[in-house]
């Protein structure tokens, strides 16, 4: 365990009756990082967060905070404030009283309490609502109250359980930058649970991807995006074209033999005979009308649809075998391409843009 580790999960298992929510978690959270835990519902991400907060006890394994095991510490004896999906603001207290609550529980004196609450009300730009009831606030304002309420004790770590999911799209994006800036300025470790890839990737320094109670990959957003470690991750991100097959020895290196065709791999990456999946980012997959000269990985395809969102165009294509392929480009990049439905094209990519993951 290195010096900059704040939290470590060591072989942590959590079961509810016969249901295994989390199996054998082993990972570390670094001091001062913004860590996102991402996965679809039921993957164990919220359970993981709740165990860290002390709201669930691990069935097996040890959770350490600053090196000390905290398994047996009740939540009210740990400093792991959490922001709930529902925000869990107290409706019977006004904004100021909500923000002062945690300080009051710590026995901080009235004057000091007021001063520290004032700072956070100011910082979150909600001073003018200090005397209001929670029911009189908008979604974004409530969000700020919830953050102020948790941060007023200036903890080492802040846990967030999908706090933005109730907001509309525009507000969500604004709150993302509020959160990211807040984390950068305070240096507080943020652990952010979400099912949204855009939230995780836009804010987090590192992302943990979970599925069925297991960690599939931990890494920076770039690492995960460019080099997904498992087929699940590549599938989950949905930004790559996947080709499953078997590794064979080919001309100069290795090739992957798939139902769609035989593709040249970049370097020696797997044992010959192994089942594997080749992932190619949709932005690194190219299209042309004529079969491109010199290209080694080419798939003949037919256009089945197109979609324009902002500056990017997404083309949906189909191979002769019925596999769907997606290509994402800027508008100008495909301006000369005939993209009528049914149009025959060639999809191709450079071998160095293909990334092989074990398991088919």
């Amino acid at each position: 365990m290195s010096r900059d580790t704040l939290v470590s999960f060591e072989g942590v298992v959590k079961t509810f009756g016969s249901f295994v929510a989390v199996q054998k978690l082993d990972f570390e959270i670094k001091k001062g990082e913004f860590l996102a835990i991402m996965g679809s519902s039921g993957c164990g991400k919220t359970t993981t967060l709740r165990m860290l907060a002390g709201l669930e006890a691990p069935t097996e394994g040890v959770i350490r905070l600053s090196g000390k095991p905290i398994n047996d510490l009740p939540t009210w004896s740990r400093d792991t404030p959490m922001v709930w999906q529902s925000l869990a603001l107290f409706p019977f207290l006004n904004v100021r009283e909500n923000v002062e609550f945690a300080l009051k529980m710590r026995g901080v004196g009235k004057a000091e309490r007021r001063k520290r609450a004032e700072q956070w009300l100011d910082r979150m730009q909600i001073t003018e609502f200090a005397e209001r009831n929670i029911s009189q606030l908008s979604g974004g304002q409530r969000q700020r109250v919830a953050l102020a309420r948790s941060l007023v004790v200036e903890p080492e770590i802040l846990l967030l359980d999908e706090p933005l999911s109730a907001l509309d799209a525009a507000l969500k994006v604004r709150m993302q930058s509020v959160l990211k800036n807040l984390q950068r300025e305070t240096g507080i470790t943020f652990v952010y649970v979400t099912h949204s890839q855009s939230e995780a990737f836009s804010m987090a320094d590192r992302v943990v991807i979970m599925s069925r109670g297991v960690i599939e990959q931990i890494g920076t957003p770039q690492e995960i995006y460019r080099t997904p470690r498992t087929r699940f991750v590549a599938d989950f991100l949905g930004s790559s074209n996947l080709f499953s097959g078997k590794v064979r020895a080919g001309g100069q290196g290795q090739v992957l033999e798939t139902p769609t065709g035989q593709f040249v791999l970049y370097g020696q990456v797997a044992a010959v005979g192994e089942a594997a999946t080749l992932t190619v980012l949709d932005t690194k997959t190219h299209l042309s009308v004529e079969k491109p000269a010199g290209a080694v990985n080419v798939v003949p395809v037919r256009v089945i649809g197109e979609e324009f969102v902002g500056a990017t165009a997404t083309l949906y294509l189909e191979t002769a075998q019925g596999q769907e392929i997606r290509v994402q480009k800027g508008h100008d990049e495909i301006a000369d391409l005939p993209t009528d439905i049914g149009q025959s094209l060639y999809a191709w990519w450079n071998p160095q843009d293909g990334h092989l993951v074990a398991e088919a």
Binding site: A53, P74, W76, S77, A88, M105, S135
Partner: protein, 281 residues
């Protein structure tokens, strides 16, 4: 904006309206009129004389009974609420769904028997030769006077209101958002403190309404102060029966009754206002 009254709406609301007018507004108006009648030679005659009001309000015994009744009812409300709360809390937060349904069912059972029967059975327990004194005598204690005391009256009020108060409290406790409790724990608020800082404020409306019901039931109750309290100290309900028995003084009894109704209205309005304080509609 006013919504038009439809025939459909009237069909359903009219019977209730007629009922209220016939059996509440009418008798109330009659009671007001009656309080101005006079009694001559044990015969009531229609009149408009404030003599009943001045007589009753001029009597120390009335104000004493008024003070007693207010105090007893308030004490019953506080005591019943305090005793019922741990029970409702346990039912709401500690029991499984099945056990909670059974508990609610058990709380309804007391309503199957008449309140009068339940009070009489308390006499068997509390009297000088009653079950409790016999048991205590067996170990060389007592006998203690338990019947005909204020304590016995209070037991009667508890018997009357406890199950209802538990049910009313329960229905506000089960709707508390559990994440609020978790959030309080998460902010260093221990279990017991959370009850006072979060659970009670969250359930305030229900808790106040439950206490109000207990107050109303105890304030007007005649059975417990007579059959368990032995008529001492005198409550307003006892004073009403005494007044009617002594020389056909129905008009004076009407004054007492109207005073009670007025008091209950003031208390009820104040309680409801407090219960919903700070809540947006």
């Amino acid at each position: 904006m006013r919504r038009p009254i439809t025939l459909y709406g009237l069909t359903f609301s009219l019977p209730l309206l007629i009922w209220q007018v016939l059996f509440f507004v009418f008798p109330l108006l009659f009671l007001v009129a009656l309080s101005f009648w006079t009694v001559k030679n044990f015969v009531m005659q229609p009149d408009f004389d404030p003599v009943n009001w001045t007589t009753i309000y001029g009597r120390a015994v009335f104000w004493q009974a008024y003070g007693t009744t207010l105090t007893l009812a308030a004490a019953a409300a506080v005591l019943t609420s305090a005793l019922a709360f741990p029970a409702s809390y346990a039912i709401a937060f500690k029991l499984s769904d099945t056990a909670r349904r059974w508990a609610v069912f058990l709380m309804v059972i007391p309503f199957f028997t008449s309140y009068l029967v339940r009070i009489y059975s308390w006499q068997i327990f509390l009297s000088d030769n009653g079950i409790i004194n016999v048991i205590l005598g067996g170990i060389g204690l007592g006998p203690f006077q338990m019947l005909n005391t204020v304590g016995a009256t209070m037991i009667g009020y508890l018997t009357l209101a406890f199950p209802l108060v538990v049910l009313l409290q329960l229905f506000s406790l089960v709707f508390i958002d559990r994440t609020l409790i978790e959030a309080a724990h998460n902010m260093r608020c221990g279990r017991l403190r959370t009850v006072f800082e979060v659970v009670i404020p969250s359930a305030r409306t229900g808790l106040v309404i439950a206490a109000l019901f207990c107050f109303i039931l105890a304030f007007g109750d005649f059975v417990s102060p007579v059959y368990l309290g032995g008529g001492e100290p005198t409550t307003l309900s006892i004073l009403i029966t005494d007044t009617t028995k002594s020389g056909q003084q129905w008009p004076r009894a009407a004054v007492i009754a109207l005073t009670m109704i007025g008091t209950l209205m003031v208390v009820a309005f104040a309680a409801v206002k407090f219960a919903y304080k700070g809540k947006s509609k």
